[in-house]
Amino acid sequence: MSTIRVDAKVVMLGKESVGKTSLVERYVHHRFLVGPYQNTIGAAFVAKPIQLGEKVVTLGIWDTAGSERYEAMSRIYYRGARAAIVCYDLTDSSSFQRARFWVKELQNCEEVIEQVLYVLYHILKWETLKVGFFLSSVNNGPRLHTILFVALQQCKIYLCGTKNDLITADRSLRQIDYHDAQDFAEEIGAQYFETSSKTGNNVDELFHKVAEDYNNAAFQFMSEESGVDLGQKKDSYFYSCCHNN
């Protein structure tokens, strides 16, 4: 199949018409509102490879429907996401309230599993197998590796104020103070960006940061993994199989 391998899932969250799609469009195709649209049929899912030094990280960028009628379903979307870009319109204070809502949602979702795993791995110092059995017996629902996958790969939050160009043109349009947003971002441990899809201001920086963070986290994860001795086990597994047959 001709699908591009995606390393990290990135979800775009935010009220409708805050410019999630434009942001992606600007980043991937370097254009704003005007064509040429001939070669894309949809901007809802984009796989974008990013060069980081010698490595290439492919981000799978998921656009989500911002309408409140789909709010209840939003958790389906950010399951397994490595990064969430929570967007709001700098000129619309209601969109900032919605952004707060999403941040809360995201944190809810992660915290529980994360804490459990932290205890299992680092305090009780369990092995992966043991953790797996434990988790599968806890609720019998989600599978071991799915949980591990979700939990070990923390979903980073990026707060993004859009339509910066409107502010630069007319300062009175700004509804959310820069420092308020900055404070909020710090409080939730997020990175804060103010972007303009029209001028392209800060857009590349945002996505580059996402990819960079992912890469660093992945590196950390790798070294952690060898800490719980997964690698060693697998080798002997393979070895013994070949000899048994």
Binding site: A8, I41, G42, F45, A72, G141, K234
Partner: protein
């Protein structure tokens, strides 16, 4: 876009029924994971113990097996007869001890043993066991399956030794699974997922981290395993998938009156190009049910979504965002009412290779489909911007949103004309009548042509006869004249000149 008003799905519906503030989940009977756990503590307690016992046992067996392979290569059962210390910190263990003695007779043990990631030193034993338990599996392979197996072995040939290893592992796995009839869907799913996981890990080791090759092989493995296991794995009797299928099917039928406008879908079906794409999308989503391998099913979903995207593009002339796409997908699902929708979703969730289901493009579409189904299940008056009374009337079939109160009384008379479904029906009927007439004409023409063809040789014959009659062939006696024969004509010629002597 501004016409889309805010609609809330009531948050309290999603919260845990016990009111602890966390979100509930239908899979847990509306409870959150925590409350569900408490609720089913008693039931689960046993399960947990079993798993513990198993984990412990495996650990020991593994060590013993490892030791024995290092030493004599004999597959001793020493580990099984060992005594196990009770696992720490978990409930009453009197039962547990008794369980342990029964363990050998429990079929689950062998499967789990095989799948658990580190108990890999037993494949040989498993192979033999598997063959004796279920030799019949190969007999039931249909042509299609043969084809799948053939493709798979062809593919693995390129991998040489590891290829044979992979094939063997897969076969053993399938035999093991098919011999355990009483496996629950979730357990089966876990087995398969563990198998994928192990296989992927080993392949990563083998290919030295080249993820493309790993994925290629994993795709083939999935294809092989799942087409073999489809019968057991799809919509198993142990789950209520079938009930859910019927429920969503009924639900979609009841919602037949939902219009494009209510969902704010940016698709204009009047444009022929667009309506073609809508039809294609519907066909693709329906086709999903006919596929056996999860990735093929995902492929169908992907194609369906691509059609939706191009339909939106043709309408709006700009790329579709998720704000356009999701409502459109909901609309397509409502129109298509795909067969066994829930079963298919469950099947994909349970048995698809997780790396595919987590991040890629197909995952995106699949997630959207899940979202669409969730929306349809929860759909109420608010989410369509209707008043509850209206919604009720539409649901009960007393009214149809197509002809609204504005038209008053006359709408009933015009029903045939205004209702697009009826219109379509009439149109189709007309077309059919037209087709019948054309066909009759065609048949007539064909018959007359046949008659013509039959009479043609006669005609030709007659003509030939006529001509022959008219110009009978007469063979005249042939007169051969000798060159020096007496010629009549030459008499009339003047005499040849005679030489005269001229006087001088």
């Amino acid at each position: 876009m501004s016409q889309r008003r805010g609609i809330h799905v009531d948050q309290s519906d999603l919260l845990c029924k016990k009111g602890c503030g966390y979100y509930g989940n239908t899979a847990w009977h509306g409870l959150c994971s925590k409350c569900w756990r408490e609720e089913y503590q008693q039931v689960r307690q046993k399960q947990i113990q079993d798993d513990w016992a198993l984990a412990e046992k495996l650990q020991r067996e593994e060590e013993a097996a490892y030791a024995s392979t290092q030493g004599t290569q004999s597959q001793s059962q020493a580990a099984a007869s060992q005594t196990h210390p009770a696992p720490p910190s978990l409930g009453p263990f009197s039962k547990f001890e008794e369980k342990k003695t029964n363990e050998k007779t429990r079929k689950v043990t062998t499967v789990k043993k095989f799948f658990s990631s580190s108990s890999s030193r037993t494949p040989k034993k498993e192979t033999q066991e598997g063959r004796t338990i279920s030799p019949s599996i190969n007999r039931h392979t249909s042509l299609e399956m043969d084809q799948v197996s053939k493709d798979f072995t062809e593919f693995l040939k390129n991998l040489h030794k590891p290829g044979r290893e992979i094939l063997k592992q897969c076969r053993v796995f399938i035999m093991n699974v098919s011999s355990k009839k009483e496996l629950k869907a979730d357990e089966l799913s876990e087995c398969v997922q563990d198998f994928y996981q192990n296989m992927a890990d080993r392949l990563t080791g083998h290919f030295k981290g080249s993820s493309e090759s790993v994925e290629q092989v994993m795709d083939q493995v999935e294809k092989y395993i799942m087409s073999r296991m489809y019968k057991v794995a799809f919509c198993p009797e142990t789950t209520d998938d079938e009930r859910k299928d019927l429920a969503i099917q009924k639900r979609i039928r009841e919602l037949h009156w939902v219009t494009i406008q209510m969902l704010c879908v940016p698709i204009e079906e009047e444009i022929p190009e667009v309506s073609d794409k809508v039809v294609n999308a519907i066909t693709d989503i329906i086709e999903m049910d006919s596929k056996k391998v999860p990735q093929d099913k995902l492929g169908c979903i992907k194609r369906c979504c691509k059609h939706i995207f191009s339909a939106i593009r043709s309408t709006k002339n700009e790329p579709a965002s998720a704000d356009d796409f999701l409502p459109a997908l909901i609309y397509i699902v409502l129109k298509a009412n795909p067969p066994r929708l829930q079963s298919n979703i469950q099947y994909i969730t349970r048995f698809c290779n997780p790396s595919r289901l987590m991040t890629g493009e197909e995952a995106y579409y699949f997630t959207n489909l899940c979202c669409a189904v969730a929306f349809i299940e929860k759909l109420d008056a608010q989410s369509l911007n209707l008043s509850p009374e209206e919604f009720e009337r539409y649901m009960s079939g007393q009214a149809s949103p197509r002809f609204h109160s504005a038209e008053g009384e006359q709408h009933r008379a015009e029903a045939g004309a205004t209702n697009p479904v009826l219109e379509q029906l009439n149109h189709n009927l007309e077309q059919l009548t037209g087709l019948i007439a054309r066909q009759e004409r065609l048949v007539e023409a064909a018959q007359s042509m046949q008659a013509d063809l039959l009479s043609w040789p006669e005609c030709v014959q007659r003509e030939v006869d006529n001509i022959l009659e008219e110009y009978p062939l007469e063979i005249l006696p042939r007169t051969v004249a000798a060159i020096d024969a007496h010629d009549v004509d030459s008499d009339r010629l003047p005499h040849p000149l005679t030489p005269q002597v001229c006087a001088q």
